[in-house]
């Protein structure tokens, strides 16, 4: 009997979320550190409300990117060789593995974004408007970062390169996502049109989805 792509994806997602629930790395380590990083900026700059409001969106997304990549790489890189071998023999479709890991990491990242989003609105005096746009924007960034992390950890797991390669792989690929997310949030703050930035984010996410799906099998086979 063979499981469908969807049921395999769901099984991998549930596994990763259950493992995270038991480990608590995102909730007890990453989120508090991300929050501390957000708090550090106003402390370092001083209480300059205008400046904080201006840099708020950029600071928020930079912190989400940095910590978010750590979350998604960590989530996807905790499998041992024995576990990867077992998954291969169980018949896990590489694309389902990629999708499942990415979905789990995206859910965790979304929670991370929401918690940090509340903090940045309070600390940086950002207007809490445009909830509809945020509902679109936050998941897009979370999914994009999660897929980027899954691809990067897949490359690292091949053993041809060390974990040190991850920042060099991820940094250039995350720039378009970071730029469009920052510009979209800035557009929301200033009441400027932001649809084009959202469209760019959608395109980036689709490109990453195709890239991740196409590279899943070659990366798995080269381990």
């Amino acid at each position: 009997m063979t499981a469908s792509m969807w049921s395999q994806t769901r099984a991998v997602t549930e596994r990763d979320l259950l493992r995270e629930r038991r480990r608590g790395e995102v909730f007890w380590i990453t989120i508090p550190f991300g929050a501390i990083a957000l708090v550090m900026f106003p402390l370092a700059i001083g209480i300059d409300a205008v400046l904080l409001e201006r840099i708020g969106p950029g600071v928020f997304w930079v912190i989400v990117m940095l910590f978010g990549i750590l979350v998604s790489v960590r989530q996807a890189a905790t499998e041992t060789t024995a576990q990867r071998d077992a998954l291969n023999l169980l018949g896990l479709e590489p694309a389902a593995g990629f999708a499942g890991r990415s979905l789990a990491a995206a859910i965790l990242l979304l929670i991370f974004e929401i918690v940090l989003g509340v903090i940045v609105i309070v600390l940086y005096d950002l207007p809490a408007t445009g909830l509809g746009w945020l509902i679109v924007m936050f998941p897009l960034v979370a999914i994009g970062l999660a897929m980027l992390g899954s691809i990067a950890s897949g490359v690292v797991a091949t053993g041809h390169s060390g974990a040190g390669l991850v920042p060099f792989l991820v940094a250039p690929l995350s720039v378009p996502l970071l730029l469009s997310a920052t510009q979209a949030l800035e557009g929301l703050r200033l009441g400027r049109p932001m649809l084009s930035w959202i469209v760019l984010m959608v395109i980036i996410v689709l490109v990453l989805a195709v890239l991740g799906t196409l590279t899943a099998r070659p990366l798995q086979e080269s381990r």
């Binding site: 099984a11 024995a82 071998d85 998954l87 023999l89 169980l90 018949g91």
Partner: protein, 198 residues
């Protein structure tokens, strides 16, 4: 495979309903040979077929579902319970949760189903991995040191798992240092020396 030679002129043929015992000194390449047979390692040269599929070709991906491999290192997720681990494996195979529960019962782990893998002994983890093979029903069963860290009941479990596979027309390969135990259940035995089977 890198600078050092790992295996060389291995020549092995294994028919249906056969159990092969594979012996050899530490570092002789037994595990490497098992991983080659499991299609987890592509050969750098030479040729071989497993379940009728060329080891160097793309067809390996299709036969993997029919290969069961239990290696040295447990492949269970330490944060999950034994039952959650088996249910996950069953879900990937497209089998209902009930298969996982039945298999745990069959290997004597029903009482420990809710225990996290990180809190289990090595022997219990091995039993759980045998349980996965029970519901997978592989045509080729590859066991690396299957008798290590097992009590008498679990050793019998290995024997019955092997018998079940071969009775169904499959084949089993057991890598072991326990010659007496393997000799008792194997149809033939070979020894790996300097990359050659003798």
């Amino acid at each position: 495979m890198g600078g050092d030679t790992i295996l060389r002129d291995v020549d092995l043929e294994l028919g249906p309903s056969t159990t092969l015992g594979l012996f050899g000194a530490n570092g002789a390449g037994k595990t490497t040979l098992l991983r080659l047979m499991a299609t987890l390692l592509p050969p750098s040269s030479g040729r071989g077929t497993v379940l009728g599929v060329d080891l160097a070709g793309n067809g390996c991906l299709d036969v993997r579902r029919e290969i069961g491999y239990v290696g040295h290192t447990p492949a269970l997720y330490s944060e999950l319970t034994l039952e959650e681990n088996l249910r996950f494996a069953a879900a990937i195979c497209g089998l209902p949760d009930g298969e996982a529960s039945e298999a745990l019962d069959a290997v004597g782990l029903k009482g420990a189903a809710g225990r996290r893998a990180e809190a289990c002994s090595h022997g219990m983890l091995r039993r759980a991995e045998f349980a996965v093979q029970l519901f997978r029903k592989p045509r080729l069963l590859l066991l690396d040191e299957p008798h290590s860290a097992l009590d008498a009941d679990a050793v019998d479990l290995v024997d019955s798992l092997v018998a079940r596979t071969t009775d169904a027309g499959g084949a089993a390969v057991l890598v072991s240092h326990d010659r007496d135990r393997v000799n008792a259940i194997a149809d033939r035995t070979v020894e790996l020396k300097a990359g050659t089977l003798v």
